[in-house]
Symmetry: C2
Subunit: 110 residues, 2 copies
DNA sequence: TTCCGTGCTACAATAAACGTAGCAGCACGC
DNA sequence: GCGTGCTGCTACGTTTATTGTAGCACGGAA
């Protein structure tokens, strides 16, 4: 959000002038609550308020902003009936993150 | 940072009142440039300036702060001879992230 | 109608990140 | 000695992101 600023066809690119997918992704996931939201949505869909509760009562402002980012990135979608959930793509990403849980346990015992 | 604020024995915990390792980890990795730094250090060690260049000339202020966080978390270490590199633990974490690269490619083609 | 729960927004305050500049330390060649 | 260039790192003023609290409009049920 500063710097030369680059764009791709579909995304503003903040932390990267290259627009390389991995950089765009790392930038998106590096925004606060992104990882946490994906983590909390790994199971059942959650309503915005349930998600907020799961996310330690984070401010609805950021949460909405992040949900908006993640929806734009096709990682999260909103269902009228049940709330927010991961898309197929989001679920794929979430699978990559599952081992993080085990790593975190090991890491905390360092 | 705000919120009730919790502490574990070794870490301030920002995004979590629980102190559960996964939450602490997600919080750490959710800070700007954390993921990118780990990504850029996946190969050879880099000097602080080389890392900064690799990270799109991010401000040295944040980079130092993040390096400090990551060093405190035993994910990154500093070598007098060659600069910064991932620790054994950091390298383990980095392995978890490698598939992200392939995911990012798929994701960008959505 | 009233009562909830939903998704979402306003707004002022605080904290994080940015960009630029520059420091001290150390090794080199001269 | 003296400059040159590299290292890690910091100061500081500005901009941006995030926070916390409050509250909106909408829809469904009672």
């Amino acid at each position: 959000m500063s710097k030369p600023i680059a764009k791709t066809t579909t995304h503003r690119v903040r932390g990267s002038t290259s627009g390389r997918p991995i950089m765009v992704l790392l930038d998106l996931l590096g925004r606060r609550w992104s990882l946490r939201i994906i983590w909390e949505l790994r199971g059942e869909p959650l309503t915005s308020r349930a998600l907020r509760a799961a996310c330690d009562d984070a401010s609805p402002t950021v949460l909405q902003a992040r949900l908006s980012d993640l929806r734009e990135a096709d990682l999260v979608e909103h269902l009228l009936e049940s709330g927010y959930r991961l898309t197929v793509l989001g679920r794929e990403l979430s699978k990559e993150f599952m081992p993080l849980h085990h790593f975190a346990e090991r890491w905390s015992k360092r």
